[in-house]
Structure formats: C-alpha cells, structure tokens
Amino acid sequence: MAAYAGFLKRPVSPTGVWSWLTTVDHKRIGLLYGVTALIMFFIAGIEAVIMRLQLSSSEQTLVSPEIYNQLFTMHGTTMVFMVIMPMGAAFFNYLIPLMIGARDVAFPRLNAFSFWMFLFGTLLMHASFLTMSAPAMGWFAYAPLTSLEFSPASGVDYWVLGLQVLGIASMAAAFNFVVTIINLRAPGLTLMRMPVFVWMTLIISFLLIFAFPVITIALTLLQFDRWVGTHFYNAAAGADPLLWQHLFWVFGHPEVYILILPAMGIVSDILPTFTRKPLFGYPAVVFAGVSIAFMGFGVWSHHMFTTGMGAWANGVFSFATMLIAIPTGIKVFNWLGTLWGGAIQFKTPLLFSIGFISMFTLGGLSGVMHAVVPVDTQQQDTYFIVAHFHYVLFGGSLFGLMAGIYYWFPKMSGRMLNEGIGKLNFWLMFIGFNMTFFPMHIVGALGMPRRIYTYGADQGWDSINMFMTIGSLVIVASFLAFMVNVIRSLQSGERAGDNPWGAATIEWSISSPPPHYNFLEIPTVTSRYPLWEEGHSKGAAQIHGHDDDDGHAVHMPDPSYWPLVLSAGIAMLAGGLLIWKWHQILGFTVISTFGLLALYATYRWAFEPVNEPNHEEPHQ
C-alpha cells in the first residue's frame, strides 16, 4: 500500500506551514510544544492576575463568583496540564535525542501525534469559554459537585473530555521516551553516564505510564455518571464520593513529581556547567529520583487527611509522606555540594537555578508541615496550601524551566539571550514571586480558606491581599522582560557558537542550532562529562556537524500527515461526544464519522513505511 495511492502525496518539502504540520523531527516538535506552552502560560497568568485583582481587597465585585470559580479552575488546570507538563515535554523532545546521541526518538510519528493531541486537547478545553461556561469546580473536581445535579452546565464535560485527550498525548509521549532512553543510547552511554535530565525523563515516563490510567478511569466513571446515569459517585445509591478523591490522587500525587522532576533534572545539569565541577553525588541524585517516584505512589491520601479516613489511614500516609522528604532533601544537599568548592559563574541560568533550589526548599518544608496531620487540619484548604504548591511549582518547576530556557536557548536558536535583561527577568520574577506567595503562608495561618472569590472586611485579610496583588503585577513585569529578551534575541542577538557555556554534555558538541540529523557520526561516550575529558577537543571536532555539511548520506524519517489526521479524528470524536449530549443524532453522526476516520488513519499510519522508497531527502 503506497502512500502515493492516497489523495494526498506524502509531504517532502522542508519549509512552509505544511512542513510544520507534518514534521516528525523531534526538534521541531519540541519547539511547537514550547511555544504553545508559553502562550498557555500567558493565558493562565491573565486568569491569575484577574483573580488577584478581585481579591486585592474585601467585598469587591470585579468578577462574579461564577466567573471567579471558572478562573481558578482553568488557571489550575491550564498551569498543570497545559503549561508545566508541555514545557517539560518541550525539553524532553528537543534534548533527549541530542543528549543520548540519537538522531531522533524511537517513534517519530508517535511523537508528532503526542503534540497534536496536546494541542487539540488544549483547544477542546478552552472551547468551553465560547459556551460561557468553562469548568468551575476546581482543578481537582471533587464529586459530587461534578455530578449533573450540582453542575448541570457543560463545563465539566469539556474538562473531562479535554483531559482525556491530553492524557492520550502524555501517555504516547511516555511510551516513546521509555523506549528511546532505554534503547537508543549511543555506544558507551551507560545508564549511569546519562545526564541527570535524561534520568528524570525516564522516571517521569514510568510515572506517567502507571499514574495516568488511574485518572483515565476516574474521568471515565464521571463521564458515565453524567451521560449514562450510572452511580459511581452517587451517595444516594450507596456510592462513596471519596472514590473520586482516591482515584484522582493516586494519579495526582505522582503527577506532582512529574511536574517537579524535569526541573530537578535541568538544574542538576546546569549547575556543573556554571560551577565548573561535576554534580556532587550523581548516583545519590539518580537513586533519590527513583525512590521519590516509587514512594510517590504510596502517599496519595495525604491530600485527604480531613475526609474522615480514620486514625490508622491518616497515620500511615503521614508517615509515608515524611519519608519522601528524605530523598528530596538528599537532592538539595547534593546541589549545595555541587556549588561548594566550585568556581561559580553568575549567568542567568545559574541565577534561576539558585532561585529554584531556595524556593523549592521552602516549598518542600511547608509540604512536610502539611504531613503532620494535626497541623494539616488547620492548614488544609487554606492559603497555606496555595503557598506551598506555588513555592514548589512556580518557585520550583517554573524557575527550573526558566533556567533551562536561558541555558538551551542558544543551542535551539543559535543566538544568545541578553544577560542584562536576563538578570532583570530573574530579579523581577524572584521578587514578584516572593511578594505574591510568601504572605500566603501568613494569610492562610490567619484562617483564609482557598477558592473564595471574596472575603469580609471583618476577616482582617485586606492589607496582606493588596500586597500580594502588587506582587503579582511584578511577576507580569518579569514576563514582559522575558518576552522582550526573546524577541530581541531572535531578531538581533549575539550569535552563539556550538558551546557558549563551555558545557560538558554531547548536545554542545554540535552546531547551534543542530543540523536536522543531529550527529553526523554517532559519538562513542566514555564518561558523564565527555566534553571536559582530557584531549576531547579533538573528539569534539570529530563529531561536529557543520551547517554547510548537508549530511546527504544520513536518512531521517520522512514527514507524515497521519499523526495530524488521527489526532484531529480523535479530537473531533471527543467533540462529537459533547454534541451528543446536546443533540443526539448529530452527535452520533459526528462520533461515527470521526471514529471511522480515526480507524482509517490508524491503518494508513500502520502501513506507511518510515521512509518512502526513492524519495528526495528533505532538509529541515
């Protein structure tokens, strides 16, 4: 079955919109993820600023409670699933093959499919804004508030289906990276020589594989309750509303490690470059990551201490949660050990890494506080919790990802970001972040619950809230500085060489940006810091792929439109389910049509060869 027998020839051109829609190149896919994630960060950030403006003083009416509840639901959902996760994915996609000396991931078309599913899931979920009823039940959507009885509007349905589609994207990526990292490493690159970022990606992929199916089921059961009338979360029929919480948090807790580990990996690989010494205690950092992943499956009910599970359950989960602090602490100490005795260069990636270490430590400490059950009965569902998770997710994950952006931007674009604006970006973000989120510990300790659209003048929280709102505007300023830096740099930034930072890992041995085939010759790796080895400058020259060498003899997988078609089919099928709720016949038609399209696309993809015979080599 030749692809040319279809109505569309297989794409071959390396430029133009069509080439981006059909790309299977991991570097392009990484950039697509990154740009989409930054746009979503902007949107979720606006949602946050509106919330902060509403809360800046008591009894304000800037937004109604209905709107506010949609804002915090979408802010949380977007930040978790459509900003932090895809930013991590952007880095996995771009860097993993480069760091392990491969030409691409194990399944390039599956990789493209993951991105398109992510994009369509994002669009599906945000389409709910068009119906004026975005989901409004909080990002963890506790039953029975999500039942038809208490949330009759379609927001919950958009959320459920959007998340199912996003789940397919994450799982496909997880399968891809497990196989890539296990099977496609360059000769000599043993597991214990891999950059820490590669290790963290491997661990995250396993976490995704085992955690995501559980939320798939939780969502499926909710879908059945809402659309078929089953009773999975219906207390009146004998069900236990806590089933949702258990299923959700069995996924949800590993999910937070999925959110933090990429940043930990990034920082573990940046610190050596700017301290000019190896990571302190590499095996411990790796094993700590592995044990965090395992233990992460055993602590989920620490989100449920106040639900009346009983003393035994509370005690067990409290104990397990305190245990997880140990490998986490080990990592922090190893980073300190890396800085100790080094020759520290205060470039922007390092500043963000320091910000990460310090803010993540604070967030981790407040997390250990929550693990103490009696204290949690006063902290649960207050701004103290909001402070904790923003310290680990913003101060932690986002700062780590910013460090990664500043570090690898030269590699990806061939241009340096401006150091001065970078430092301004960092300080504005650091100061604004602490201004906004540190006082949340205080106002939470003063009894301010979370998810409230307003509060009374008699509750005494006005001045602190005003202070925090001002802080959030400082964060906005930092983001503007970042955008200015990126745009200026892309237009007229200083050209970056292969290795502007003098780093040690093999992605810095090829040109900036890399050629489409990555490595002209797959290198043989003999240590953790190959480019710092004695006499390796000769080796570096050996594995250079210069831009003028168009690598004709290297065959890369051909682009394909089937990943795009299949994901469009699945997304439209999900849309059909939404239509079915409103108009059964039309919905059924849409579901069947796109279901058949998806099936057809699967067959064509399965029988499409990786490369067409007798093709022109595309230069991407």
């Binding site: 099977n183 199916p213 559980v214 299923l247």
Partner: protein
C-alpha cells in the same frame, strides 16, 4: 554512516523497540483495569434493592414459527459450528480472503439472533424465582424486592466463554509458531480461528448483557449494574480492538504483506491478545467466582 533504518536493528539493550512499546502500553493497561477492578471490589455489597413484577413465561418465537426459542438457538449453534469449520477449511485453502467481512457478518448474526432469542423468550418470574434469588415477596403477591447483583450471574455459561477465550490464546500461539516455520496457510487458519473464537466470546458477553437487561439490571439500576457493565464492557472493547487487529493481519497476509519476516509484528499482536485474556481471567475470578462463593 548511521542509517536510520538501523534504529530498529541496533538497540542499546537488544530488545526490539516496538516490543518494548507494547510492554510499556500493557503496563499502563494493567493500571487501567486495576483501577476498574478496585472500584468493583469497593462497591461489592453496596447496591440498593429493586422491585420486580412477577410475570408468566413467554416464548414469542414458538408463537411465531412453532419451534421453541431453545430449539432455535440449538439449531443456530450447530450451524455456527459447521460454519466455523468451513471457514477454517476455506481460509487454509486460500479460498476465503475477505476475513474481516466474514468475521463481522458472523458477529452480526450472533448478536441479532441472540437478541431475538432473548427478546422473544422470557422465562417466568414467580415467587419461586424471587426467593431463589434471595429476594422478598412483597405483600400482595405481585412483586419481589431483590438486590440485583451477583445472584444474576450464570457461572457455568461464563466458564464456557472463559474457556473459549483461553482457547483463542492457544490458537494465537499456534499461529505464531506456524509463521515462524513459514507455513502461511497454517498461520492464516490458526489466526482466523483466534478471531472467530474472540467473536464467540464477545457473543457470549452480548448474550449475558441482554439477559441481565431483560431481568432489570441496567447500568443505572444500582451500583452492581454500574460497575459490572463498565468493567466487562471496557474489557469487551479491548477484545473487539484485538479482533480487528488480528483480522487485519489475516487480510494483510493474503496480500503478501505478512510473511516470515513479520514474526515480530504478529508476536506483538499476540502479546496484546494474551494480555486481554489474562485480564479476563482476573475479572472472571473477581466478579464471578468471588461473587458466587462469597469469599471476602
């Protein structure tokens, strides 16, 4: 020069990429079914009771054509066995190439006739059946208060369907072995048998669903209905996708696309098929055996 095709041949561990992918996917599917089975177990014994009206037995088929429903189903089963044997013979000789339509037609026939049988044949429901199911005859003698749950399950019948699915795993193994020895007719025969056995299993599932619906157990009726239909239904969906996959391999082999060189592809399909079978063993034990013998 490193050729991208060699990504398949040279891997850091020696394991094939696509096989590793299937194992990773099966790992996730374990958690998928694990969550569903846990939900089922958590909700055991928590269903509310239903009120069912008594009625006489009713055989619409006997009224229509003079043969009892039971008689019709026996004839159909015998015809089905003959059709099965003929299909295998024809596939072996390369006469029948369009196996997917044949499989789908068979499935449709099974479902349609079963539904007619179920719809046309209603056993009587009296105080005797009520108490046998563990229910309470309500004052007035017209209706029964009973919790529709494990008491509806037909262990002998489901044991038979479980056996059918197990046999399909055996035929899958035989198919792979035939392909390894480059015996294409034998491969096609065994793989077709696997598809048909899978369809027969699905037929048993549909029969059981029909029977339960007729007795008043819908997904909405109580917690047992919700958990039972969703768990076994999603498993059935997995079986259906497997049947589609395997039958497309049979078709592809007739077009010369599946040869001894494609042993890996068939092995990967086999992994999926065996997984689906193993999950069924667990579901069967949890729903039927534990339910029937009241363990836990």
């Amino acid at each position: 020069m490193a050729h991208v095709q060699s990504i398949e041949e040279q891997t850091s561990t020696g394991l094939n990429n696509r096989k590793l992918l299937m194992w990773a996917f099966l790992g996730s599917d374990c958690m998928f079914f694990g969550a569903l089975i846990s939900t089922f177990l958590v909700y055991r014994g928590r269903s509310g009771s239903s009120i069912l009206e008594f009625h006489e037995s009713h055989d619409a088929i006997k009224d229509a054509i003079g043969i009892s429903a039971g008689g019709v189903s026996l004839i159909l089963i015998l015809l089905g066995i003959v059709a099965f044997a003929f299909t295998l013979m024809a596939v072996r000789r390369g006469i029948v190439k369009r196996i997917i339509p044949a499989v789908l037609v068979l499935f449709a026939i099974v479902v349609i006739f079963q539904s007619i049988w179920i719809a046309g044949h209603q056993p009587e429901f009296t105080a005797h059946e009520c108490t046998e199911m563990g229910g309470l005859v309500l004052p007035g003698g017209e209706s029964c208060e009973v919790t529709l749950a494990e008491n509806l399950l037909d262990i002998p019948l489901t044991s038979l369907s479980t056996f059918v699915l197990l046999m399909s795993s055996l035929s899958m193994v035989m198919a792979l072995s035939a392909l390894e020895r480059n015996n294409l007719p034998s491969f096609r025969t065994w793989l077709t048998a696997t598809c048909i056995l899978g369809v027969v299993f699905l037929g048993f599932q549909v029969f059981e669903f029909n029977a339960f619906l007729q007795e008043g157990l819908t997904p909405r009726e109580n917690l047992f209905g919700s958990t039972f239909y969703v768990l076994t239904g999603l498993h059935g969906a997995h079986v259906t996708l497997g049947v589609l996959w395997l039958s497309s391999l049979v078709v592809a082999s007739f077009k010369g696309k599946v040869t001894q060189k494609s042993v890996l592809d068939v092995e990967i399909a086999g992994l999926y098929w065996h997984f689906v079978d193993i999950v069924w063993i667990v579901i069967f034990s949890v729903i039927y055996l534990i339910g029937a013998y009241g363990i836990g």
